[in-house]
Amino acid sequence: MSRIIFAIMLMLFSVGVAHAVLPSEMLTNPVQEARARAISSNLRCLVCQNQTIDDSSADLARDLRLIVRERIVAGDSDAQVMEYVVARYGNYVLLKPPFQMDTALLWLLPFAALILALAVTYATLRGRVVTDDADEPNDILKGD
């Protein structure tokens, strides 16, 4: 019985994250290949939208993976490789958009919402304490 459970567990947990990179695409230098993988996982596949080019098996994603590796071999820094792709497809290909004028709202809105929520909470709580005191002074505290 425990063998069967073990087998089932093995099957369940042996499912890894699927990557689309083919062995033939990989660079022989492991450091360069690791850089390529890191860059690829930050670039959006343009055909599939919610996958990275590292995950997608689309032809265009494959072409872009090859270009990323080509730039690395040519001696580009990670930032230069990113720039190369952004120059062609715009910031849209970046899965993490850069902080700039037109993305300021995107980055700052969550913090603005947090500050607003804290302010509203503070104002509400403060108001409540004052009215409680005015209505029935010290009664509640005495009861405790």
């Binding site: 055909v47 265009l60 072409d63 872009l64 270009i67 120059a87 062609r88 497809y89 715009g90 849209y92």
Partner: protein, 179 residues
């Protein structure tokens, strides 16, 4: 009635959210802005589909308007767009140049034989490098290049008579005074 912040705030938030959602409805996330608009056409030098013809070079696209159309025999929307391209091929105001993307010569020839060949010249991009330099994400895609070699318009997806009348025709009307 005195308007208190507690009354106005939810209404104001509702108005802001409504505004954002209306923008969202009218915005197609599949259409990306092109980085090429107003920029010179990236340099390319592609072999012609018919080897007997001269190569297709970006440098040769000056001195007149060019319609650069990325297509492939495998591309379904290209078939939809094709009749319009056929009628445009008679227009003398521009040159219609095709880039055959990730295709085989046999398939491309067959496609053009069946559907007609609207192109003044066709280059092939098997590796997809030029197409990536153009920032193309899918076929068909059309670029309007002016006589100075500057990209004036990018149409992702099939050209339609509506897009033509609204976006392309006005550019071609400018052509006279600009040159």
């Amino acid at each position: 009635m005195k308007l208190r912040p507690a009354t106005i705030l939810p209404l104001a938030l509702f108005a802001v959210m409504g505004g954002v959602l209306v923008i969202g409805l009218n915005h197609d996330p599949h259409v990306m802005p092109s980085t090429l608009l107003g920029a010179p056409l990236p340099a390319f030098d592609l072999p012609a589909l018919d080897e007997a013809q001269p190569k297709i070079k970006s440098a040769s696209m000056k001195g007149g308007f060019t319609l650069l159309n990325v297509w492939g025999s495998w591309c379904v929307s290209c078939r939809y767009e094709h009749p319009l391209l056929m009628s445009l091929s008679k227009d003398k105001r521009f040159k219609l140049v095709g880039i055959d993307w990730r295709d085989t010569k046999a398939h491309a020839d067959d496609y053009l034989l069946t559907n007609g060949n609207p192109y003044a010249a066709i280059g092939t991009d098997q590796g997809g490098r030029t197409v990536i330099d153009l920032g193309v994400s899918g076929a068909p895609e059309t670029f309007v290049v002016d006589n100075a070699g500057t990209v004036r318009l990018r149409v992702p997806g099939p050209l339609t008579p509506e897009i033509w009348a609204k976006d392309v025709e006005p550019l071609l009307k400018d052509q006279g005074p600009a040159s």
